[in-house]
Symmetry: C2
Subunit: 310 residues, 2 copies
Amino acid sequence: MIQKLISGIKEKNSPIVVGLDPQLGFVPEQILNKYYNEMGYTLEAVAEAIYEYNVGIMDATYDLIPAVKPQVAMYEQFGVPGVIAFKKTVDYAHKKGLVVIGDIKRGDIGSTSGAYALGHIGEVELGGKKICPFDEDIVTVNPYLGSDGVKPFIDVCKENDRGIFVLVKTSNPSSGEFQDRVISEGDDKGRPLYEIVAEKVADWGQDSMDGDYSNVGAVVGATYPEMGVRLRKLMPKAYILVPGYGAQGGSGKDLKGFFNEDGLGAIVNSSRGIIAAYKNDKYASFGAEGYADASRAAVEDMLADIRENI
Amino acid sequence: MIQKLISGIKEKNSPIVVGLDPQLGFVPEQILNKYYNEMGYTLEAVAEAIYEYNVGIMDATYDLIPAVKPQVAMYEQFGVPGVIAFKKTVDYAHKKGLVVIGDIKRGDIGSTSGAYALGHIGEVELGGKKICPFDEDIVTVNPYLGSDGVKPFIDVCKENDRGIFVLVKTSNPSSGEFQDRVISEGDDKGRPLYEIVAEKVADWGQDSMDGDYSNVGAVVGATYPEMGVRLRKLMPKAYILVPGYGAQGGSGKDLKGFFNEDGLGAIVNSSRGIIAAYKNDKYASFGAEGYADASRAAVEDMLADIRENI
């Protein structure tokens, strides 16, 4: 799977992913009102609205980007109808030739992680018939439960040629509270927890190589560029998904250290900065009606920033 | 919310919760085949089957237990139809007067955790109308992202009188890989990470008290009883959700240390041991047709074991 992502990145010269995180406040009023008028103030109306909003953004940007990353929380927020919109978004992204990174941050005890893995990147077999329930290509995984909570995902990656990005160092302000704690034992003495997790990622990844890179990647926030440099070296074969660019504070000059010398090894996410670009002064002239074109302009600007700095 | 759970525990003299984790292999064949015959080998058929299976178990046990804990992974495994079955299970549990602990183990950056919190234990407001999308009473939360990933859940708990259980020390074999790492810094020198998380839980919980206990509880596995004793003391006001009883290896004699001297402070989960009891030699005489009665017998035996040991 990681080679499929890399092909897209090379073909489009675009190591970026657009985060499809449709907060209600981002969806243009004309879209929301259309569905409210049709279906009332219901979860179903919102779900249809966020799907149409996503389609607009994908239609306007798919030729510039290799992948999208829908954040499932923004869909679960709207209950079952929201989850239906998530699934429709995944399917539409595939139609546009995009790799889908499901930002689900799941992780549980072994048998339960196995169920998440089958549902999101695997297949369930019913009466000899195989069905891919959500059918993302790659998902994000939370490592707090240790190896036996991650391995079922890796097994499914191998069986179905899919991928995972494991949370190592997240982009949020308080990520250091537990992730940065310095360990006192043995060979790991003096090292922060996120490095221990990173070494596990490198270790797990050996078992699922796809060309020069592994199907087991990592999440490291753009907001922590020095840590990115160090983590890049600790996980040379892991693709790094880099959130935190744009609205969260990361910029192009912070990113070089996340990439390898081959110019590969990282993919940078922007969500709000792209999908809500029309709300930003810089792109305000597009207006709410031109939200998708504003998103395209923001992708072009982000690409210019990144190409200049890598 | 925690007082509502405590009332149920006292009223039924039952500090236990049944984990509704319907793996496909647990669902009796007569139920699966009924829906396969009606709807073919589809996710929709499986979803209807697991819902009927859950209803049978709830009907047979609701008077003995204060709460159920559906594990959302087992529903997501079957895609959108599975998520519909999850929601129907939550609603049916409420009809039977049960507190619903959604075992979702979510956790993300602040705004994203906020979306999960609204979707699962909160309300979204659409055109002035408030809607509870999934409407669980309590959910489990993963702390790996630190305070700003947990606080949005606590805010929603306060607003809507709901609760959370934060993962501290999980029941699985490799939970120690990261959770047990010993910290080398300052006042925390020499202490494992799970204790640092536990102190945060105690700290976060002060802000959402409900009587003598907090709406912010913790998850600590029955499989680690010595740690349970220590964690009980570190979080005196936190209710502890204790998974790992039964199939995972924990037994009644391991549980005393998880409770406070008031006989409260913990609720013990069993999933497979109850819902798949009919597959256990001990209850095999019930047969697949009597699966719900087997579950009731298993609950009675679990209660006897726990009452004897606490």
